[in-house]
């Protein structure tokens, strides 16, 4: 059965864990901007960690339920309702035929995730359903298009025993992030960090940077105290998730899920994966800081996280 898209909202995309193994031919990973919220959605429903969901940016999405199932909403609070009644994110809900699921505008955070029991059933392309608009890959029609009114998003039929009696599951409070709390992003120094003078590195870690209007799934442009590398450009090389590119104007760009695979700007280092996910819930005007992070500590935290969410393959 399926959800029918009544209003696609601003940008609503099908995302799974991402497309891995094709960066050597220039295909980016895609995947959820806030992986933490995405993984909780699948966990609440007992889905496999990489099951396809909807990523709803800013809001205004409206869906009609065509058969009873269970959904979970995580991530940003976009003022979601079921049949006009307000619901809280980070929780699972039963929905019945004819129900209207709607999202309004952001109250906290930017991106909400809507997971369905058993997952959205979407054809994979290069091993993933993740939508990358720029590359015209993934999504409902395997052409990288965002959701449109009239789209029909299939999910598996649930026997009534799964849905009834329904016990709602909620993420324990201590795991629910506050997307309006001050954000300090851990940075692993690397790439061309040696091309930045000590004074420049100090500037970078002691000043606040503001999220600009120029933010998308490819990257976040920040504004603040300019920092300069002694290099103009570099020989193009592979770009990590979270890499901090510093172009000539000295304003950092944090590269995210839909980043280009190779690039030629100097980079001071990389924001940790867990930090990059938190950044993606921040909108224009948010102030953020950077702090040096030890790679081994970042690795240990990521390993604990992977184990917690049952990530056995891929990243």
């Amino acid at each position: 059965m399926a959800f029918k898209v009544i209003n696609p909202g601003l940008i609503s995309l099908i995302q799974d864990f991402g497309r891995y193994g094709y960066q050597h031919i220039g295909v980016t990973t895609g995947g959820p901007m806030d992986e933490h919220a995405f993984l909780w959605g699948n966990r609440l429903l007992g889905n496999a960690f990489d099951t396809a969901q909807l990523e709803i940016t800013i809001g205004m999405l409206q869906l009609e339920v065509q058969q009873s199932t269970v959904i979970a909403i995580t991530g940003a609070d976009l003022g979601a309702t079921i049949n006009g009644l307000a619901i809280r994110p980070w929780q699972s809900y039963p929905v019945n035929q004819g129900d209207q699921i709607a999202f309004n505008r952001p109250k906290k955070g930017l991106r909400a995730y809507l997971a369905v029991k058993g997952g959205l059933q979407i054809s994979q392309q290069l091993g993933s359903a993740a939508t990358v608009v720029r590359e015209k890959i993934g999504g409902l029609y395997t052409n990288g298009k965002k959701l449109a009114a009239g789209d029909v998003l299939p999910y598996p039929v649930m026997s009534p025993s799964v849905v009834q009696p329904f016990v709602s599951k909620r993420v324990p409070e201590q795991f629910i992030p506050d997307y309006s709390a001050p954000l300090i992003l851990g940075v692993i120094l690397g790439y061309q960090c040696d091309s930045f003078a000590q004074t420049e590195i100090q500037k970078f870690f002691s000043n606040k940077y503001e999220v600009t209007q120029d933010i998308d799934r490819m990257g976040y442009r920040l504004a603040g105290e300019p920092v300069c590398s002694s290099l103009d450009g570099i020989i193009s090389e592979g770009i990590s998730y979270g890499a901090i590119q510093i172009p000539k104007d000295g304003q950092p760009i944090v590269l995210l899920r839909d980043r280009q695979t190779i690039g030629g700007y100097p980079k001071i280092g990389c924001v940790t994966a867990l930090g990059a996910a938190r950044l993606s819930q921040r909108g224009p005007g948010t102030k953020i800081r950077f702090a040096i992070k030890d790679i081994h500590q970042a690795e240990a935290e990521q390993m604990i996280y992977n184990r917690f969410f049952g990530i056995q393959s891929k990243r």
Binding site: L126, G263, A273, A298, N306
Partner: protein, 227 residues
């Protein structure tokens, strides 16, 4: 060779320091060695001009172990000799006609050469695939003859048609799909250079050699080219 950690699950191997055919060959050899020996631990691999970016699977290895394995595997890379002849040569048909060679007049003016001379020079070279990236299937090829070198456009085009063949400085490349871009366009290929429905995805791979073959309008159209 230098190995540098980047994130909790990625690192970069710098094989050399310059854009050189020899370095590109070493990148190619190292990439093959990694694919053959460490593929169970590697998630993604991005070879480029002088480096190899690797994302590894934290469920199967960690930086300490992976770094040691790589060091061991690539220890004798400089001694590995791979002859250029062993690389695959891919012929790409190109129509250099006025309808598709959008920047030919600028290139003629800049190089003080006629279109015929420019096409001859462009087709006479055997190009190395130095990197694939920027967008799916976009292959960075070098080096073009200095006689036809021209800087990229100051203001990039917002729309370069798919299949367009461009030059910039001493590099040349084909845009596999329509995209913005600042390279100077001198022709168009009818070949589909990235097809997600095909297993091979792209006919051109890192380390391959590419030769451009000039074709006429009729051949271009019959091979499926569009003007």
């Amino acid at each position: 060779m230098k190995i540098q950690p980047l994130t909790e699950d990625s690192l970069i191997v710098y094989v050399g320091e310059k854009i050189e055919r020899e370095v590109a060959q070493q990148v190619s050899v190292a990439t093959q060695l990694i694919r053959q020996n460490l593929s169970d631990k590697v998630i993604d691999i991005i070879p480029s001009y002088h480096s190899i970016h690797l994302t590894y699977n934290l469920c199967k290895t960690n930086f300490f172990e992976f770094h040691a394995l790589l060091r061991q595997l690539l220890a004798n890379l400089e001694q590995q000799s791979v002859s250029i002849e062993s690389s695959k040569i891919i012929e790409i048909p190109v129509y250099y006609g006025p309808e598709v060679a959008l920047d030919m007049p600028i290139i003629e003016q800049h190089t003080h050469r006629s279109a015929e001379e420019i096409i001859d020079i462009h087709c006479s070279e055997l190009y190395t695939v130095y990197a694939i990236g920027f967008s799916p299937g976009f292959a960075y090829l070098g080096n073009t003859d200095k006689q036809i070198a021209i800087p990229r456009k100051i203001t990039p085009r917002t729309r370069v048609p798919a299949g367009s063949l461009g030059i910039a400085d001493t590099q040349t490349a084909i845009y596999p799909s329509e995209s913005p871009g600042g390279w100077q366009i001198l022709g168009r290929t009818p070949l589909n250079l990235v097809d997600f429905q095909q297993d091979s995805l792209t006919p051109v791979n890192m380390g391959d050699l590419v030769k451009f073959v000039a074709i006429d309008k009729q051949a271009f159209l019959s091979l499926g080219g569009t003007l």
